[in-house]
Symmetry: C2
Subunit: 200 residues, 2 copies
Amino acid sequence: MAKSFEFWFDLGSPAAYLAWKRLPKFLAQTGAGVEHKPMLLGGVFKATGNASPVTIPAKGKWLLDDLARTARKDGVPLAYGPGFPVNTLPLMRGAIGLQMRKPERFAPYVDAMFDAMFGQPKDMRDEKTLGGVLAAAGFAPAELMALAADPEVKQALIKATEEAVARGVFGAPTFFVGSEMFWGQDRMDAVAESLAAGAA
Amino acid sequence: MAKSFEFWFDLGSPAAYLAWKRLPKFLAQTGAGVEHKPMLLGGVFKATGNASPVTIPAKGKWLLDDLARTARKDGVPLAYGPGFPVNTLPLMRGAIGLQMRKPERFAPYVDAMFDAMFGQPKDMRDEKTLGGVLAAAGFAPAELMALAADPEVKQALIKATEEAVARGVFGAPTFFVGSEMFWGQDRMDAVAESLAAGAA
């Protein structure tokens, strides 16, 4: 039986970024397959009554310290661009749109977007800056913008976000192994254990 | 140099209960000393704008699943009594009062209270039930209640809670290694790493 898990994410989540950076090693170590699941975290927050932890100043401060500790340990750069947390609606439409229409370009897009959000952060709210990031990663900005404006793509992101909420998601990243849910990059060990138990 | 850390807790927190149960092994493995720090989590929530995660239903559901997974892994019973989350004001006054007046009875009290909250949970809101739990653990209920009503004890809990908030605490359990803060029973590995780094 092939083992696989779902990785639900939003490009605006630094915890999802850290998880994304860990995925290649994780996949190699577990031998598992991953199903990428873009969702709009802002929509999840709205539907569940949850909110970004940075809305509680003491919690936000600690969380950023904790993510920095994890990033150092993982050897991954982590920084924040202007306006964090950023509205990721156009970015996530681009992600799900590529997954639908040009799946081979999905991972390069997510790589480029996460790096521009948290690796060497830029002002991703600025259309020209975003265009430059896209172009540098080999995407035609106008094409991506048209994709993000496509009603089918918009609808797909709404549906995906609704599915996430219906299945109990309230934050990012969220992993599913079958129906078992794990929230947070700090639960990847538990995901690995669940995959191993399921494969046994 | 002696290594030590602070353990801030409230008897109403199931995550603090799991951490408490792990402490003996943790102390043996790290060789560190622990300073127990009772606080009123409800007061911390009020001051920081934070709230129990169970106030977000999807998050509460996942958290209870996650704590159950940890409890199974640790081989510790975990269940919830009526009225969870319970107002722990009298229980925490008892904890800090014993720490001030009969420190040798502090750990047995915390043991008995945590067990009655989450090990074999009882309705700890009921004075008679609470009295029975205290008596079974060798405490005179009337003496404990007088202690919890002592103005100096009440003031000490207020001061401790204010100190927690001033130092950045927003939840329980919280650990400090010097000024470095760690939130959650799931950060005890990071606490151990920090202790080891500090001792090197």
